[in-house]
Symmetry: C2
Subunit: 392 residues, 2 copies
């Protein structure tokens, strides 16, 4: 394991049987990878927030299971299925509110249980199936994010005045550190940078946890993307002084009418962007789409502890006795998402999202089970189709 | 001197011959008054930012001179005039960019020099004149702020739907701690609270120096005004979830067309207020009006050190290597000041400000010299007209 960082920032370094993760608790002051040797290590890393971001939590959890069983011997299909199910359920308890880990756990456990009676599979092949399931989660996340990045970059370039001088404002952290390695909104920025179109990126501090100042700024510096940190109070002066091509943010949840829940401060930037006629984009995978809710009014706003606002690193920064309001996210109405919603299937208007994504979501749910088997048969070519994201 | 705080928060406690100031460097964790015995103490307090806010700096500076000469004996008018001029010039050097101290210094020095040949004045009476000049600055600031508060409160009550449930959002610190004791925007809030009309006040954190979280929150807690701290990213969610009656902010400079420079983040709140149809007010004294500039485009934006954004209390909070942009204020265009500009002479539309205030400013400049003499003759009643702001 190395403490140096290679040219592509990776929060997760995986090779079959080995997993290292970038310890995000130490960012931005220290860049250190720590080994995850088993599900105990995975549980601790998730619990202590050494890894954060819903997709990244699920991937690290499942890969910690893959690494653990890689070094074990089993006697039967059922023994593996039971063992994996137990370990995944255990991992879900590290941060039970992160839905992606629960979904991944359910999917792998159900798939393995259905295949326990498959006489064509040896015990060894059955174990490999469980390992591959975790690897596919990892691989798919990067592939999906790269598709999001490509669609978003193309859409922005097709709709802007000066294609060679693109300036983007983003909010919070939606990059390698929150995903398997490419990012959603930051994936769009990466894709634009790969096309040599980025002139400058601006990232907000994103109080109270400063994910922008700590993590997005870290990723942008690491990737040598020209970038400037601004405070959460500065998007308006930024747009009044600089020619901002587009705002691109991530999403925690997009509902049927296109209303979007995202990190606190997002609606504010959307209102300001509309005032200055700057296109406002939301970038997120299909998994973020929740057709079960008709509008943003149905989304409950999570309120977090006041201490996040009143202290930084254990030091009091607000007057004693003051009441605080600390909603973790806000809901941006569909009409303010003027650029569009960028997904792995293309860029859609918020009003189109229900029609375009509901069928995709049902289709994908059905495909998951069959897909796992189909992918397994082509395992030998796995490492050549993974876009280089699995570390050797 | 006492470390306890009485019912009215006062950053400056003055009785002829004695001056104590609240040490703002220790806020919000410690409430401690420190004695200012002479101009050396005054210079140190200003330099070290134990007192801040342009009006408060000028008042503490001049009162430190008044306290020093109160305990001294002089032989002639000219000796006093020279001594005071030297000391005031020295005080200006503590923070030369704060224009109010320079203006006060010039006004007192010029007035004394003109009266050195006045044979009706004894040497003792001449010394009292210098002391009174400083006291008048102190007294006037409170009187002006109370007028601002009264006009602002009346205007808001006359134009709102629910006069008994007024909710105000403010930004930065514009209260007792930045002025002689009542505040501008916070003066409007105080006046509404004195009328029992305030339901709730919301104050923004105001990064990077957190004047809202540290100082405004401190004042609101101290005054028992129901209040909640929000982050700079939250004005939009606040207005979408709560019925905000008005936004009231202060000003660093108002130019001829009504464009207003104020703490970074102000224009953003004005845009959001317009989006949610919430009236947006600027509260400031006549001295803030600068008719020499036609529009906000002529106002230079002060950019401050990056370390204010990247560190808090010596701890690094942003990624190393990231560039920062740290403008200290922004300019809100007149058309976004939808409530009006609240002054000691009334509430005006930004488009009226040039007509209404230019004559007042010329008139006031002329009056200052004569006024000092007129006031001196009524010194015996001074303490009865000071609204109780001079501490015994």
């Amino acid at each position: 394991m190395s403490n140096t960082v290679d040219s592509n920032l990776k929060a997760i370094r995986y090779d079959r049987g080995n997993l290292d993760i970038l310890d995000q608790l130490q960012l931005p002051t220290h860049t250190e990878y720590i080994p995850i040797k088993n599900t105990e290590d995975g549980w601790d890393a998730i619990k202590q927030m050494k890894v954060r971001g819903a997709p990244a939590i699920a991937i690290v959890g499942c890969l910690s299971m893959a690494v653990e069983i890689y070094h074990m011997e089993f006697q039967s299909h059922q023994e593996i299925a039971d063992y994996v199910k137990d370990k995944l359920n255990y991992l879900v308890t590290a941060r039970p509110t992160a839905v992606n880990m629960k979904e991944a756990s359910d999917w792998i456990s159900k798939m393995l249980q259905e295949l326990t009676t498959d006489s064509d599979l040896s015990v060894h092949a059955f174990k490999e199936l469980a390992i591959e399931a975790a690897e596919i989660l990892f691989e798919d996340d990067v592939t999906i994010n790269k598709d999001i990045g490509r669609h978003g970059a193309e859409h922005i370039l097709n709709h802007c005045q000066d294609k060679d001088n693109v300036n983007i404002l983003t909010h919070c952290n939606t990059g390698s550190l929150a995903t398997a390695g490419y990012g959603t909104a930051l994936g769009v920025i990466r894709a634009l940078h790969e096309k040599n179109r980025i002139k400058h990126v601006y990232c907000t501090e994103t109080r109270p946890y400063n994910q922008g100042a700590r993590l997005t700024a870290y990723e942008l510096v690491h990737e040598n993307i020209p970038a400037t940190l601004i405070l959460d109070s500065m998007p308006a002066i930024l747009m009044s002084h600089h020619d901002i091509t587009a705002v691109v943010v991530g999403a925690d949840r997009v509902v049927a009418n296109g209303d979007t829940a995202n990190k606190i401060g997002t609606i504010q930037i959307a209102i300001i962007a509309k005032h200055f006629k700057v296109p406002f984009y939301v970038a997120c995978p299909l998994t973020t789409f929740d057709p079960s809710k008709e509008s943003g009014k149905e989304i409950a706003i999570e309120e977090r502890p006041h201490i996040e606002m009143t202290s930084i690193k254990g030091q009091r920064i607000a007057a004693h006795g003051i009441d605080c309001w600390n909603p973790a996210f806000d809901v941006t109405p569909a009409e303010l998402i003027t650029g569009g919603i960028v997904t792995e299937y293309g860029v859609f208007k918020p009003s189109e999202i229900k029609e375009k994504l509901t069928a995709k979501k049902m289709e994908k749910d059905k495909m998951n089970m069959n897909g796992q088997m189909r992918r397994r048969s082509s395992y030998s070519s796995f490492k050549t189709i993974d876009n280089g994201m699995i570390q050797q």
